[in-house]
């Protein structure tokens, strides 16, 4: 049979095929380019002043030859972009408010907080008639990206809620305004009003960049009735006694039951036990891993032992269809989790079990005082580009008032950051919350570097391999340290570079975030 008519144009098809192939492959590469252009944009914004200074004074010490050329082509590019964007930004009309004119503050808040904060903000506006607050609600899932895009595009809000583990990253991008000068001029507000661990998450290289808004931490939720069956009326305070209790629970329950649930797909617990044993997690000014050092090793051995002894099931969150159901069944008697689960426990555990569960601060290796936990929560920050830092600070100050914090707690259930708010009877009405007050006083900040979140994830990968017996805890921790060292190579280099600059005559122009 002869070929049908369509084949008369094989050349056209071949040509279009070639073009398509080329353009599709280029598309893939151009995604990476997005990165490049973003980077140039970001460089231009974050370094408006610096870039100009860089042009004016040629730097004598530059290590990599490529940097020179990179800087050369980036500067003109950055300047072009700058002037273009500068033109746009100028039209925004964000000049500081003159007399009689209302200052408009843009405030970004996430998730549930964003929904309810408008109610508080309305009272703030009544108190400050010259300030108008524009609350923008952002879903948590999009928050990180939206903030970064805003930084790159120079459209950051004046004030924003920020997860406190994100602060170091935004400080590295030079997006946040240090709050110390504003705090100093504010009577009645200081670090003593806050839980020290949580406060510390906001302090990067000695400077304060966020004021805690609400806090959260992890502690122990447990079945009091099961613990009582082992002859204990309260949770022991030391690791040893605690482990003895877990063993008793396991003996009581038999083969199919466990004592505690520690989901293997979360690095949280491994890190908490490490912190309890006194590990700094990273060493040498956060430039290398300290996971195979004796402190972390001790915490990890305890954690790993719970699996080896069969006290904790080696499963992930996803493999337990319904944690509440399993707790009700007594598949495990304890679970380390956060404040959001108080409501869930009330709702999801059967009514007859409601008197049979409680919360307790975590036990520690040497007793309750060493039973530290993570310092989580959200802070309020002011962006560098905000033309109204004074007004922005007024808003933050208002939201930090103890009475406003109590109202905020009533609206959201988020635990207040101000210690004063914790003496309010409405906050501590629920006995399950009291343990959090105790635990919050014993919180520790995880390393405040932009790489931490990535390292945190790696802890899980390696730890999970050890729990499943793919390798010994020793080699897992050594492997983790090796990988972390690789991730932190840039920090080591920046540090040595900074040190040599300090030793030499050149003045340092930036400090390591």
């Amino acid at each position: 049979m002869t070929r049908p008519a369509i084949v008369v144009a094989p050349r056209t098809i071949r040509a279009s095929r070639a073009i398509l192939t080329a353009s599709q492959t280029i598309l893939a590469a151009s995604r990476a380019i997005l990165a490049a252009s973003h980077a140039i944009l970001a460089a231009s914004w974050a370094n408006r002043a610096r870039t100009l200074a860089f042009l004016a004074t040629p730097r004598p010490v530059i290590e990599a030859p490529w940097t020179v050329s990179a800087a050369r082509w980036m500067i003109p590019a950055a300047l072009v972009v700058l002037s273009l964007l500068g033109g746009c930004a100028g039209e925004g009309g964000r000049s500081p408010g003159t007399a009689g004119e209302r200052v408009k503050l843009r405030f970004w808040a996430m998730g549930r907080e964003g929904e309810v904060v408008t109610e508080l903000v309305r009272d703030f506006e009544r108190e400050h008639p010259t300030i108008q607050v524009d609350v923008q609600q952002i879903p948590w899932s999009a928050a990180h990206e939206k903030l970064l895009t805003a930084i790159v595009g120079g459209s950051t809000p004046d004030v924003s809620q920020l997860g406190n583990t994100w602060i170091s990253e935004f400080v590295a991008l030079e997006a946040l305004r240090p709050l110390d000068p504003l705090l100093e001029r504010t009577p009645g507000l200081s670090d003593t009003s806050y839980f020290s661990g949580v406060w510390d998450t906001n302090v990067i290289e000695g400077e304060l960049y966020g004021l805690p808004w609400y806090v959260d931490t992890r502690l122990l939720f447990y079945r009091t009735d099961i613990l009582a069956q082992t002859g204990r009326d309260r949770l022991p305070g030391t690791w040893e006694e605690w482990r003895a209790a877990l063993r008793d629970i396991k003996t009581l329950g038999g083969e199919s039951k466990y004592a505690i649930f520690l989901p293997t797909n979360e690095p949280t617990e491994a890190v908490i036990f490490g912190l309890q044993a006194g590990s700094p997690l990273l060493r040498d000014h956060d430039t290398a891993g300290a996971f195979s050092a004796p402190e972390f090793r001790r915490g990890y051995d305890f954690f790993h032992g719970l699996f080896r002894e069969g006290l904790a099931p080696p499963v992930r969150n996803t493999q337990i269809a319904n944690v509440y159901q399993e707790l009700a069944r007594g598949t495990f008697a304890m679970y380390i989790t956060g404040p959001w689960n108080i409501g869930e426990f009330r709702r999801r555990l059967p009514a007859e079990l409601q008197d049979d569960w409680a919360t307790a601060p975590l036990p520690g290796p040497e007793g309750p005082a060493t039973g530290v936990s993570l310092a989580g929560g959200s802070s309020l920050v002011i962006f560098h580009r905000s033309p109204h830092p004074q007004e922005a600070w007024k808003l933050i100050e208002y939201l930090s008032r103890p009475e406003v914090q109590v109202r905020f707690f009533a609206l959201t259930g988020d635990l207040p950051a101000r210690r004063e708010a914790w003496s309010d009877s409405s906050v501590i009405a629920d006995p399950a919350i009291l343990a959090f007050r105790e635990q919050l006083a014993r919180t520790v900040a995880t390393p405040k570097i932009p790489e931490w979140e990535l390292i945190f994830k790696r802890v899980q990968d390696w730890s999970e391999a050890a729990i499943h017996g793919a390798m010994s805890p020793d080699s897992a921790l050594a492997g983790l340290d090796r990988e972390v060292d690789r991730l932190l190579e840039k920090r080591r280099w920046l540090r040595s570079r900074q040190a040599s600059a300090e030793n030499g005559t050149a003045t340092t122009r930036e400090s390591l975030p």
Partner: protein, 293 residues
Amino acid sequence: MSRSQTKAGWVFIGPASALIGLFFFVPVVAGLLLSFTDFDIYGIAAPETVRWIGLRNYVQLVQNPLFWTALKNTLVFVLAGGPLSVAVSLGAALLPNAPQARLRGLFRTVYFTPVVTTIVAVALVWRYLYHPRYGLLNHALGLVGIGPIDWLGDPNWAMPAIILLAIWKNFGYNMLIFLAGLQSIPEELYEAARLDGAGALQRFRHVTAPGLRSTFVFIAIITMLGYFQLFAEPYVMTQGGPLRATTSLVLLMYEEGFRWWRLGMASAVAVLLLLIMSVGTMIQLRLQRGRAR
């Protein structure tokens, strides 16, 4: 050709070439260069801290188990989803093209609708369909006695679920191209075949299939290239989970670049993906050419 004509030619192609150069070739070269640097969050704040590190990103990448997971997931998606998608498109094109079909325009439009619907809206609806307890899909399976499947939560089912969604979302586009190909096959050939006593299956094998060969080559290649760039579906449906079962290479690149700010590393992923896709395309062309001979 005279000199003035040459000059006129340059004037005509000038604007287009300049645009293509500026928005395609410059970025591609910049991306390639970027992949040899350690451009990261510190580099964004202070460009002078960016270093030229040669092939280190690539070395680290091939040592990263996550890269191999992502590569495996992407290949599964391309090798399973690609052919299935082409088959569904062909089937969908044959149906409205059948002489006895009614409401052709309607079906064509209906089949094409998913292509032009935004993925975020689609994802929302499909998340309901896939819901382990209230989802329509599990309800239907329940009627025939198949127990509930946690489509997006079970690492073994997440990728099949993404493939199903991707096929549904994309088959309409290939269907249109197949339709165009089908319509260019002269009716006389079918008529002649029928006169010779060929049945429906034989007509498909000996008239339709050869007539669609060039269309098929074209579709196979653009589908493969498109499927290699799997991103939006897992990004909105599963964020790469559960257990990384739906992390594709492009999603990995996105994470490296915009979550961890390791833009140099992200560019290295892009370059590797480009190489893999080029090899894939070459293999396909070789295969097709071999078959054509």
